[in-house]
Symmetry: C2
C-alpha cells in the first residue's frame, strides 16, 4: 500500500530529478538569489511583443534548456505537465506547443509547480512514463494587469501585497535516474478561511500550508526536526509569520528550518513589500536554488510546499472569498 | 510495458465507472437528449446570484449526486480532478471546495473531461487511489461574457459559432468496481493549424481530434470498425465534417459510427448554429447518454475523444492563433 495516513503517498519506485532549469527577469536577477539564475533578461519583454508572449517564451526557453542540459530529446519525454496564472493558462499552452509531447494542462495557481511534480511522480511510479517534464511560470506585468491593475495606472500597493515573480522553472523527472529523488507526496485540499483581500495573498494561502504540513507530519509521524529545509511557495513575510506562529502553537518547532520562496527571492530594499509570489516564484527558487543545493548536499531532505491562492477577481467582486491550496513534495538525496 | 505505440497506454488494472451524474440547463433539457438528463434547472442562475456561482453550484450538485448514487462517502474518495472554462477555473475551485478531498485542478478547455479521466485512471492503475472523481462544467452565459461579449450586447452569432452548453458531468472511477471500464488512454499533443477565428472553434479543434484519432489507430493497429461509437467532444457540425472527410481521405471508414457530442445535444430548431461546445458538452453527454447506454449494452466499445480549443481572447487580440488538443479515453463493457 502506497498510502500513508490520510493524504500522503510514498513513491515506491525511484523517481529522480534528471534535469532542471530556471529563467528570471531583471528584478529577480538583482535579488539575493541572483547568482543562482544563469538565464535572465534585462528586458521585461524577453525580446517578445507582449508580456503574455514573454511568459510563453520563458516556458519554451526553460523546456529547451532542460532538454539540452539533460542530453535528452523531446521524443523521449512521455508527458509534459504545465500551468500558469494567466487566463486559459496561455503561458503554458503557447509555451509547450511545438515540442510534440503529450500535454496535461493544470491549474493550481501558485501551487502549480508542486501539483505538476505530484502528477508526474504518480505517472512515473505507476509505470506510465519514463521521463516527464514539469513546467510553470509567472510574469509580473502580465499578472498585474490581469489580476489587479495595468501598471500604467500606477496604483499604490498595500503593505501586505506581494510582487509576482517574473520567472519560470522546469524539472525533468526520470525513472531510475538523477537526484535528488521524490520520495513522498501529499496533494492538497482546498482551504477557505474567508479572506477577501486581494492584496493579502499570504494570509489567504497560509491556512492551506498549515493544513497540508500538519496532515503530512501526522501521516508520516515526523516533525520539522526530521527535515533540513521546509520551504513554502510564496506566502511572503505575512504568510510565513502566520505559519511559523501556528506551527509553534501546535508544538511543531520549525526553528530556522522553515523558509519561504517569496522571502528568499527579494530583499527589503527591492520594494517587494511582503515578498515574491506567482507560479514562477517557487518554480525558479526550486530550480535555481534548492535543487542545485541538494546536488551539492547542502540540503539532503527537503519539504517543498507550493501554495496557491485560487483567487478570481470576478468571484471577489461577487463577494466570494479566496480559497487556498498547498501541495507537498518531499525531495531526498 | 503499458505503452502501446507512440502515445497510447493500456490500463492494466480494472478501472471501472462506479457512478456518474449530469446536470443541465433549460435549453439542453429541451434538446434531443433531454430525456437523458434527470437533473436540470429552468432558471439559468440555478438559484444562485450569478452565472459563475451557478456553474460552481452545478459542479457541487454533480459531486453530491454521484457520491449519493454510488453509496460512498467523500472520505473514501482519494482524489478529485476538476476543471472548467472560467478564468482561474472558478467553477471547479468553488465547486469542489467543501468536500475535503485532495484536489487537482486541470485546464484543458473543452477537453477537460477526458483529461481528468486520463489522470484519474493513471492514479488508480498506479496504485495511488481506490476511488477518484472527475468533474467538469460550462455555463453559456458565463462563457459568453468571458470569451466573447456579454449577452446584453445582443451580438450577432456567425454560422460557424457554437453554443456553450450549460451543464456539468461527474464520473466516479473505482478500482475493481463498476462498469463500463476504461481500458486505454491516449493523451493529446497540442496541434495548432493557425486558425484565428474565435467564432469557429470546430475548425480550430478538428486537427487535434484527427491527430489523436489517427495516432491511436496506428498505436493500437485498429480501425473505426473495431468500435461501436467514436465520439468527439464538441466539434459541432463544422468540425465533425472536417474530421469525417479527413478520416475518409486517410482510408479510415467511420461510417455511422462517428458522432460528436456538440451535434447530439441540440437540434437544428434550437438556434445553436454549428452545435454545442464547452467542457459541459462532452461531460453531460458522456454522463447523461453514453455511460447509461453502455450500461444497457447499446454500446460496448466506445472511443471518447474530448476536444479543447485552448483559446485565449487576449492572445487572439495579440494576433496569435488558437491551439487545439484532444485527449482520448476508451470505455469497454
Amino acid at each position: 500500500m502506497k498510502k500513508i495516513g490520510k493524504r500522503t503517498f510514498k513513491i515506491e519506485n525511484y523517481v529522480g530529478v534528471s534535469g532542471y532549469s530556471s529563467i528570471v527577469g531583471d528584478k529577480e536577477k538583482k535579488g539575493p538569489l541572483g547568482h543562482c539564475f544563469e538565464n535572465y533578461s534585462e528586458d521585461e519583454y524577453f525580446g517578445q511583443e507582449t508580456f503574455e508572449k514573454a511568459e510563453a517564451f520563458m516556458q519554451r526557453e526553460v523546456i529547451r534548456d532542460v532538454i539540452e542540459k539533460a542530453k535528452t530529446k523531446p521524443e523521449d519525454i512521455d508527458f509534459i505537465y504545465a500551468g500558469d496564472l494567466l487566463n486559459q493558462c496561455t503561458g503554458s499552452n503557447y509555451g509547450v506547443g511545438g515540442f510534440d509531447i503529450s500535454y496535461f494542462g493544470v491549474y493550481g495557481a501558485c501551487s502549480t509547480m508542486a501539483e505538476t511534480l505530484i502528477l508526474a511522480s504518480i505517472s512515473i511510479d505507476g509505470g506510465f512514463a519514463e521521463k516527464t517534464l514539469c513546467v510553470t511560470s509567472s510574469h509580473f506585468c502580465a499578472a498585474e494587469r490581469q489580476f489587479r491593475f495595468p501598471l500604467e495606472y500606477g496604483a499604490q500597493r498595500s503593505s501586505t501585497a506581494q510582487w509576482t515573480v517574473t520567472g519560470a522553472g522546469g524539472v525533468l523527472l526520470s525513472k531510475n535516474e538523477g537526484f535528488p529523488r521524490i520520495t513522498e507526496i501529499s496533494p492538497g485540499v482546498i482551504c477557505d478561511k474567508k479572506i477577501t483581500d486581494i492584496n493579502n495573498m499570504g494570509t489567504a494561502m497560509a491556512p492551506a500550508a498549515i493544513q497540508t504540513l500538519i496532515s503530512f507530519f501526522e501521516d508520516t509521524g515526523t516533525t520539522p526536526e526530521n527535515y533540513d529545509l521546509i520551504l513554502t511557495g510564496d506566502l511572503g513575510h505575512v504568510g510565513h509569520e502566520i505559519v511559523s506562529d501556528f506551527l509553534k502553537r501546535e508544538n511543531y518547532d520549525a526553528k530556522n528550518k522553515y523558509h519561504d520562496c517569496g522571502m528568499l527571492i527579494y530583499d527589503h530594499s527591492q520594494d517587494a513589500h511582503s515578498g515574491g509570489s506567482g507560479c514562477g516564484c517557487s518554480a525558479s527558487v526550486l530550480c535555481g536554488f534548492v535543487l542545485p543545493e541538494m546536488r551539492k548536499r547542502t540540503y539532503k531532505n527537503v519539504l517543498f510546499v507550493a501554495t496557491g491562492a485560487l483567487m478570481s477577481p470576478t468571484m471577489v467582486l461577487q463577494g466570494e472569498s479566496i480559497p487556498g491550496i498547498a501541495h507537498l513534495v518531499r525531495f531526498e538525496v
